[in-house]
Amino acid sequence: MSPARATWRELLSRYGILLAFLALATGLALLSPSFLSPSNLLNVLRQISVNALLAFGMTTVILCAGIDLSVGSVLAVSGALAAGLSVAGWPAPAAMAAALVAGTLMGLFNGLFVAAFRIAPFIATLGGLTIFRGVALVYTGGRPITGLPDAFDALGNGVAFGVPVPVWVMLAFLGLTQFLLRFTSLGRAVYAVGGNEEAARLSGLPVMRTKLLVYGYSGLAAAMGGLVLTGRLNSAQPTAGSGFELDAIAAVVVGGTSLVGGRGSVLGTFLGAAIIGVLNNGMNLLDVSAFYQQIVKGGVILGALLIDRLVAARKD
């Protein structure tokens, strides 16, 4: 079985992330009566949707041996753009589409620096983080944009067939990402470039184009997250998304994707986001102080990184 591409069966046998998740959920169900109710589970899924969207995009970048620190800022700009255009009179679908395009362009901007100018991804996207945050602040004038049309509320707070709309969006994006990574030649190229860029180059793969595209995709995912968040908050906040890149990376790492690239899956990322979401929710339900919550979350992430290292070492 190929370890780089995960099927559900593989996740179960290999890391037991799923097992860990189930254990966590079971424990919380025992500790807090409100945890296991269907409404709370949907609650959790809704709450992780923005982070999961960012994390799906981040997964493709990390698989390609890169990283994208700018997703929080791209989220803010996209959300603000969609809101601002709507308030200015654009029909909501057009404003949202424009935001998605803008997010993709911002991602491609990052990708240009990484792929063409060979700047280290950490540095390049750190620049993106700062620049795009500035763009968000300038565009919003530092103030939230409110008075949004109902379409945003429907996107962020609506329910379809008993399931919150953001959850549908998240699942759709999960499906799309998994399809791209597992079933297309582009996805194969992503794993190859991340696993061994030199070998990929010598095999004639379009390394630069592959890298460019994953960053663009990450921007698109961040923009989608921006739309959902704007809907949930009923406003576009200039400070939206601050620090979201770290949560996205945490979800990716806890989900078993290796930070050096070439190994991992987006299904794992979904579980990673779910674990973090369940932790947050559980700790809130158990009235654990926010400061302790930080410590616990940090501990889980470190634990996941350690496991990643041990697994990698064992393979050699």
Binding site: S2, P3, F183, S185, R188, N196, A199, L202, S203, G262
Partner: protein
Amino acid sequence: MALLEMRAIRKRFGGVEALKGVDLALEAGEVHALVGENGAGKSTLMKVLSGALQPDAGEVRLDGRPLRLRGVAEARRAGVVMVYQELTLVPDLSVAENLQLGRLPPLVRHASLEASARALLGPMGLSIPPGAPLRSLGAGAQQLVAVARAFGERARVLVFDEPTATLSASETAQLFALIRRLRGEGVAVAYISHRLEEIFELADRVTVLRDGERVATAPIAELTPERVVTLMVGREVRVTPRPARRQAGALGRFEVSAPGLSPLSLELGRGEIVGLAGVVGSGRSEALEAMFGLRGRGGWRGRPVSDPRDALRHGLFLVPADRKAQGLVLELSARENVALAVLPRLARLGVMVPARERTLVRRWFDRLRVRPDDPERPARTFSGGNQQKLVLAKGLAATPEVLLLEEPTRGVDVATRAELYALLDELAAGGLGLVVSSSDTEELAGLCDRVLVFRGGRVVKELAAPLHREEVVAHVTGARDVA
């Protein structure tokens, strides 16, 4: 009693036995050269001596007392120092500070540092300003500083491994003068080199290694370059001349140039196997890489080849020297690796068609007899020889017209090696053109229709069939020029 003795040293790497019970004795005040082909075990032996590697068996004695070296630092303390090509100096510090690296007092006083530096450099005949930053010196001078430092640390055995590869003629002369001075001071110098002219200029005694065994040790006066070459190569049965396989018609002409390589023009015939011989840095690897568009300027059939994608489009494929680092994505399955160069052909509108991929991989797995016969296993689980087959499969799947191979059987077991040779023969017979760059002269002599020998970045000799291994080695080492 010899200053340093190595007895019955054995060392195994995975499936390959690099040293099969080698003895070596170094006398104080001599320059002892160590020669042998690539893979003969010279570097491995010296790494054992300098503490970088632990032998599986055998012992090392210094002054008659057993020496257990558990690392380079311990070796240095014992007085055995290897002067690496990658220097263990710090470019940002001054010469004087580098000379005292590892022995700097807590409070560094520049005046006293410079004084000790002068005291060290002066008697060695080196006029290098002690206060200058190390990076301001040329490679040659930096190496001299490394040697001076070793001497300052009371080294009793100095080991050099191909020290003149990056030096100019005058720097080489300075190094030799220094080595002679050290010899006069009673230091034992072990000197590895491919360049027979240097050895005959500098060494007192020579030890020849072949396939991990010591075949001879003798004073230099009793040897000639030809004799050394014969010892390196061994009394081989003359290889039967290659059957004429070359078919009519040329495939095309390569025109390449690169830094470290003079412009080269090579016409490749249909079904021809051309070999490129030479030591590291001689230009043969550079030539091959240039042909594939990896460096310098490449041209094939009159059209430029600017990068690997271009090269593949032109029907060229490179099997790289390091299959793990350059040839395969180890984390992916064998199937995914084999399909890697032809993804567009296996997809419809960007979506992979599993059936097409499986068929392709099955075909090449069968043709190349890859073992174990499980394409779903990760590439990293296959043996070296089978990994090489995977790389070949990947290339052949792209239906190239020309195969470029760099060190195609390095680290491959004997049985698979034979399989690969047979395969290459078959491919040539089928009309492919092959260019093989290798440090294994036996391989070149056995496989190629003709061999181009590189030295100093240019082709110095073209040898045609019937090829004799000794002749190849002679030209590679420059023995022919020395005699």
